[in-house]
Structures are given as structure tokens and as C-alpha cells.
Amino acid sequence: MGDAALSSALIRQDVLPLAVGYALLMAALAAGLVLSLRRPAVPGQRPSPAASAASAVPADSAAGPAARGWLRLVRHVAGTAVGGYLLLMAVVVGYYFGVARVSGNFIEGAFTGCALLIGLSSPVFAAATWLVVRRRPSGNDR
């Protein structure tokens, strides 16, 4: 492979993804900065996801507050994981067909590898959350 081809492959497969990823991260940080300056957060004002989730469940639910909090937390986490997974897969597919046809099982690896990561991290996150809640003093459900 010549130097020109190597440089082209390097730019398309390494430099461009890093630059796009960096631009996306910086754009997200800039958006967060603008939002934060527009509406400054007050420490201690926002409830935890589990607590805010519990408050969004209809009051006529038969389950107790703790069960409602867990249900809301599971929905919140599942929605974030599925949404993030689908977003990343859309970016990966768009990158593969629009920018560079990466050799090997790139698409298949992205789908299975990211699903594997979610499958491994979700039980750990659930167990860690359960331990944190369990260690809290009773009467403090948040």
C-alpha cells in the first residue's frame, strides 16, 4: 500500500471519526453550557432519577412508593439505553455507508459488541443501585 493510500485510509478511518466524535462532544457540552447559563441549577433542587420517576407515576397505582420508584428507574434506564444504542447504530451505519467501508465485520461487531456492553453493564448497574438504596437509612427513599 502506498503512502497516499495509507494517508487516505488513516484520515477516513481514524482522523475523521475522532474529529466527528470530538465535535459532537464539544457541541453537546456547548449546548449544556448554554442551557446551564440560561437556567442555572440550584444544588439540591433536582430529585434523583428514581425519585423523579416515582413522582411521574399515576397516583392510583396499586404499588407502593418504592416499587413505583424502581419501575420508573427501570423505564428511565431502559429508555436511555435503547435510545443511545439506536442512535449509535444509526451513526455507525451512516458512517459505514457514507464515509468509509471499514473492512471486517464492522457493522455486525458494532451491533453485537455494543449489545454485549449493555448486557454486561446493566446487571452491574442494577446491583450497584440496589446496594446503594439498601445501605441508606430507612425512611430515606431518595
Binding site: G21, Y22, L24, L25, A28, L29, A31, G32, L33, L35, S36, L37, R39, P40, A41, R46, G79, T80, A81, G83, G84, Y85, L86, L87, L88, V91, G109, A110, G113, C114, L116, L117, I118, S121
Partner: protein, 75 residues
């Protein structure tokens, strides 16, 4: 080990240095800039922000822990 140009390391060093400098400035409360955690909290108020951050986390973990690895007994 591949030889990389020094300029690449310098760019990464400057980027991470700027990130830490920003966080230090925010934590010192000398200016009105928000901390990174406050910024991420603002992003995560919205579903698309949470999806984007989770996608970034997945992308990073996929590259670091999954992609290019050959597991045991795999042909």
C-alpha cells in the same frame, strides 16, 4: 510500537489540559462558568441528550473493550 508524531501527543495534551483547566476554574468559583457535572446535568435533562451521552459512552467502551479483542477459543 508505532511511531506517532509528537504533534499528536501535544494536541491531546492541550485538549485535556484545557478540560482540566476549565473544571478547575469552575470549581474555584472565581468565575461564573459551570462545572462539567453541571453541564452534563443540563444535557441529561432531555432525552436526546441522554441518548447522545449514552451513545458516546457505548462508542468509547466498544472501541476500548470489545473491538479488536479476540476472546478465548475464538477462531
Amino acid at each position: 510500537m508505532a511511531q506517532h508524531p509528537v504533534l499528536g501527543y501535544l494536541v491531546w495534551a492541550v485538549l485535556f489540559g484545557a478540560l482540566f483547566a476549565w473544571e478547575g476554574l469552575a470549581l474555584s468559583h472565581l468565575s461564573g462558568v459551570p462545572t462539567l457535572s453541571a453541564t452534563f446535568r443540563a444535557i441529561m435533562r432531555y432525552p436526546f441528550g441522554r441518548w447522545a451521552l449514552f451513545a458516546l459512552w457505548l462508542w468509547f467502551g466498544w472501541h476500548i473493550f470489545v473491538r479488536g479483542w479476540h476472546f478465548l477459543l475464538r477462531a
